[in-house]
Assembly symmetry: none
Homo-oligomer: 196 residues x 4
DNA sequence: ACGCTCGGGACTGCCCGTTAAT
DNA sequence: ATTAACGGGCAGTCCCGAGCGT
């Protein structure tokens, strides 16, 4: 158990990672710092050695989650055969598994409305991370210009996020599965190369 | 302070209406019962004469908000010239005004993720109201069958909700306006009669 | 449903009777006026048509309970053969049935400590009713003078009350039964005619 | 406001001690946690760092008070000349001073009825402490067997408790003093060595 | 005019996010 | 960098008066 700076860094990352999951699963107000630290195997007092406030952690955890999400989507796209990037993205996002695992899923679908209402700095951090995600995603989407690619990325991501939220809100699992399947077709076709 | 027979009903409706707005603006955990009752011109002591719990109010307020939203959209559609129903719906939902007025705007875009995490009865009430909204909306959408209409309604609503959330999360108002404009075009075209 | 004065009187008595039982069973702070009125088949609003305050009801209900108790004890004594009055009293009070039915049992054993801490008027009302009970009881006890009879009544009642409280506090039912049996013997012998 | 390692223990004990007195003086429902902590020189916020609930504190405070009481009685007995143990116990318990100082007096006389109605764990903790008290007391009482000693201890304690309660309930101080004096004689004689 | 209902404060137990002091 | 403590706040419940309908 080295007490070096490395160790502190590791602890810090563990907290962020734990928070990143817990926040998506339980919401911002559903997670308390004592509960969080306990889940990370620490005492609640030590929190403020790592973060100045809960908001700071929320901002960081959300940014991390957003980066992870977009990297996962980017990885799915880059592993797909040429011309299948869009398809890969849609198929990775709009799945029952993603719907049923909010803790490791899309931060936007889980927390966006709450983050919008958060203090300005949290909101700004979220907006910045969102921009980065759009950047990463736009590389895999068609479009006449960089601008068009970004527009498409935003449109697509927004549509998928809304669909995931809707799928989670539905009571009937079969209907929810069906919505996801239809949405996969819909978005894959709508954003296909020449289409938009 | 009149105490006639129907005044309790009026008071109750005032509480629900106030809550419906406050919840969308501040989130479920952001609104306390004392604050809510104060905003409705009452003290918090009388709250439990109207509702058995905060959750019961949340359920009712969200259902009311959902009904209002879908009626507003339905009204916009029904006032449009024939063949322009879809356009009217999209133009009514995806506007900067709607984005900037969450308190009176779409409940799904403001609260869906939190409602999903709420107790089972709140969740169920929300899911039921959501189904009704889809019903109402589907009457104005094209589709080969009733089923197809409902599918389209869900797809469209999900897409619009996600877009509104995304537009609200963006820092740059111009970019946000642009997203809304692009989305209006996108969804109007995508769901046009023979299109989908 | 006659609205005459008689009816009001009946309602009032029903409230007092209900309260008398509920208070012994749940304690003063364990019984709320809404719960009480519901148990009496009424709405909580009407309470203050009958009593100026909760304390007034408590005072009256306790006095009633005390009277009932002492009458029950007096009846047991008066129905006993001559020379068996004391025995009858002790056997009526120190029973497992009495221990297990606090709601209809001795008010002193159930509420005395709380009543001592109650507002002055409640306390005074309780003290007065207690005096009456002692009066009634003393008629059945031996003693060289009226004074001695009263002394004996107080000593005996105090001892029995404490025993009942102790018996209720014990976990082991067998031990508790045994304590009651021993106490019956003890007090019957101790206060026997020439004894004290 | 030092924070050394053992200060938490000291603070905890201070809270228990304060509670032990306040509970006897005001009753379980008469003492709120904020009031309690204020009386202990603290704020209510820190309470739950020491106890998981109010009930837990009540259980502990009552057990402590019971131990103190029985130790005080045991000390009085052990300091008395041989053959005067019983007399010492009775004289220590049935005094006007004890009657007038419920806050530091017998827990059973002050709280037993309320504790009987308390949650199961509180009740159990109280019953256990009561058993211990009986144990301690029985060492100073006559009896043919250990069992008989315990029986006598229970009978005596029960009688004294009831007498104290009765003495507290009486309005007339002179009469109350008289009852105590009579009871001292009565119990001292009744439990004298060969007597019972 | 009586009696119910609505509403008003106050309070409780519990828990949270946070910081001096060690 | 933990422990102990601080205030502030929440949902829920209480007891109780101001004022209508019967």
């Amino acid at each position: 158990m080295p007490l070096s700076k490395q160790h502190k860094q590791q602890t810090r990352e563990r907290i962020v990672k734990t928070a990143s999951r817990a926040l998506r699963a339980e919401g911002i107000d559903g997670v308390s710092i004592p509960a969080l630290m306990r889940r990370a195997g620490l005492t609640h007092g030590g929190f403020y050695a790592h973060f100045p406030s809960k908001d700071a952690l929320v901002a960081e955890a959300c940014a991390l989650g957003l980066v992870e999400s977009s990297e996962r989507l980017g990885a799915a796209a880059s592993h797909a055969p040429p011309g299948q990037h869009l398809r890969a993205i849609v198929d990775a996002y709009l799945t029952p598994e993603h719907r049923d695992a909010p803790a490791t899923g899309c931060v936007i679908a889980a927390l966006a409305p709450q983050l919008i209402r958060a203090p300005a700095d949290v909101r700004a951090s979220f907006a910045a991370a969102l921009d980065q995600s759009i950047d990463r995603l736009s590389a895999y989407l068609p479009g006449a210009s960089e601008r068009a690619c970004r527009d498409n990325a935003r449109l697509l991501l927004a549509g998928m996020v809304g669909t995931l939220v809707m799928a989670r809100a539905m009571d009937d699992r079969d209907e929810s599965d069906r919505l996801l399947a239809l949405a996969r077709e819909f978005y894959a076709r709508a954003f296909a190369a020449g289409g938009e």
